[in-house]
């Protein structure tokens, strides 16, 4: 049995969406992009990897929309992190979806404080069903409020989870 929980809310995008992924957070964005394109939403993909060898499905993403690649070592695409690319791109989209390391999700939220965003969190898990308190994160709601990534997520709206 895998983790329970929710997925990306495709219905939240109106016309154009940014899909921002890092490392093992990239593969889930491919299915999401297909689903968005089926609904007639324009997608732009900004994907970050360690190096050229780790780049995943570049051609497939390109067939679905504009695709920008960053690699940490600069062996392919822009050198650095996805945030370096985000700074260069127009903010002409209505929603963004992001999946990747927590530090990247943080940076993406900072890049688009005024936009509607949905972030898929990674957390080391124990039970995967909400019973062991391994995967909790605090939230912005109150000092004592928390979510469990496995059963309440993994997708949360930007501005909710404190990491």
């Amino acid at each position: 049995m895998g983790p329970l929980g929710n997925g990306f809310p495709v219905e939240e995008a109106a016309k154009k969406a940014y899909l921002i992924g890092g490392g093992i957070g990239v593969p889930p964005l491919y299915e999401l992009s297909k689903a968005l394109n089926e609904r007639g939403i324009e997608t732009v993909h900004i994907l970050g990897f360690e190096s050229k060898d780790a780049v995943f499905y570049e051609a497939e993403f390109k067939s679905l929309g504009d695709t920008h690649i960053a690699t940490v070592d600069g062996s392919h695409g822009t050198q650095g992190f996805v945030t370096h690319i985000l700074n260069e791109l127009p903010k002409d989209f209505d929603a963004y979806f992001s999946c990747g390391p927590t530090a990247m999700l943080e940076a993406v939220q900072w890049a688009y404080p005024e936009k509607k965003g949905f972030l898929s969190y990674e957390q080391r898990m124990g039970c995967g069903i909400g019973a062991c308190f391994a995967c909790v994160c605090r939230t912005t709601k109150s000092e004592t409020d928390y979510i469990k990534v496995c059963s309440d997520g993994p997708v949360f709206q930007a501005g909710v989870v404190i990491s």
Binding site: I129, A131, C132, A134, S151
Partner: protein, 304 residues
């Protein structure tokens, strides 16, 4: 008919199988998968006086044949457990063993006194692996005198039998067991997790944010069996054994070593139906081994 029932202080167990504390929350998640009334008992997550938010993450990490955890006793606090978790569990025909934790003797006493009054709490399990803030952070479970005094203090206020949960992180577990027996404990549960670490090979940093964590799962079964075997020879207290149980034969091994019942922890994360599967298989396995009851197995290694 194979008889699985076991009678222990405060506990009339339909069968000797129960989920271990911290690996089953307060039952809600697993209740969506099966009827909790099938279980011998339920050991609920540790309860502390106040709500606890636990340690920073990562709190868990896989290891060879096991896992490390440093959850940090996250729980909704005494008021939350009494007000919502325990009443919710009343719909099931299953005795609850309430796991009690704290950092001062007063903490333990307060939780034990109040939680033992709940109608479905039939026994307490006192987690003495917590650091004792007043004694400079040594854990209650590593010093026999401290363990005995804590047992006495909790016994004085509890309305139900008290089981003390022993820490394996000691050089002489028998001395701790004897101390809690002298303090008036009604039973022992053992073992809690073994302190361990895992490194991120690339960065050299510990994987667990708390640096160290408690090791559980199949990796610790041999240690747990040895400790149950030793303690059962040196005290008259009944033992609920645990540590790495993942199948019916593991459960039988603990009974043979001297436990009167067993708890299953980490294995619930791998197979959420593990407790009910062990319960289902137990009669047939007992029959194959030539026994008519689970009770006959208890401590059989000592009689050979």
């Amino acid at each position: 008919m194979t008889n699985l029932a076991i009678k222990l202080p405060g506990l009339e167990l339909k069968n000797p199988i129960m989920p271990a504390s911290g690996c089953f929350g307060f039952g809600k998640e697993y209740a969506q998968l099966y009827d909790l009334s099938q279980l011998g008992a339920i050991m609920i997550k540790a309860t502390t006086v106040e709500t606890r938010l636990g340690n920073p993450t990562p709190r868990v990490a896989e290891t060879a044949s096991g896992m490390l955890n440093a959850i940090g006793l996250q729980n909704p606090g005494l008021a939350g457990v009494l007000g919502s978790e325990l009443p919710w569990l009343e719909q099931f025909d299953v005795p609850i063993i309430a796991n009690v934790a704290g950092t001062t003797t007063e903490d333990y006493v307060e939780v034990a006194k109040e939680i033992s009054k709940a109608p479905n709490v039939h026994a307490l399990e006192i987690n003495i692996s917590c650091p004792n803030v007043k004694q400079g952070g040594i854990t209650f479970g590593t010093d026999p005198d401290v363990a005995r005094e804590l047992t006495q203090a909790v016994k004085a206020v509890s309305s139900v039998p008290v089981y003390i949960k022993l820490s394996p992180n000691v050089t002489n577990i028998v001395s701790i067991a004897k101390a809690v027996e002298a303090g008036g404990a009604d039973g022992i549960t053992m073992i809690n997790t073994l302190l361990g670490m895992r490194m991120d090979t690339k960065t050299g940093r510990p994987v667990i944010a708390n640096i160290t964590g408690g090791l559980s799962g199949p990796a610790i079964k041999p240690v747990a069996l040895r400790m149950v075997y030793e303690v059962s020879q040196h005290t008259d207290l009944p033992i609920i054994g645990m540590g790495g149980i993942t199948n019916v034969d593991d459960a039988i091994d603990f009974l043979s070593a001297g436990a009167s019942a067993v708890a299953v922890g980490t294995a619930n994360f791998v197979n959420p139906f593990v407790c009910t599967e062990i319960i289902e298989k137990l009669p047939e396995r007992l029959h194959e081994l030539g026994f008519d009851s689970a009770e006959e197995l208890i401590g059989r290694s000592h009689r050979l």
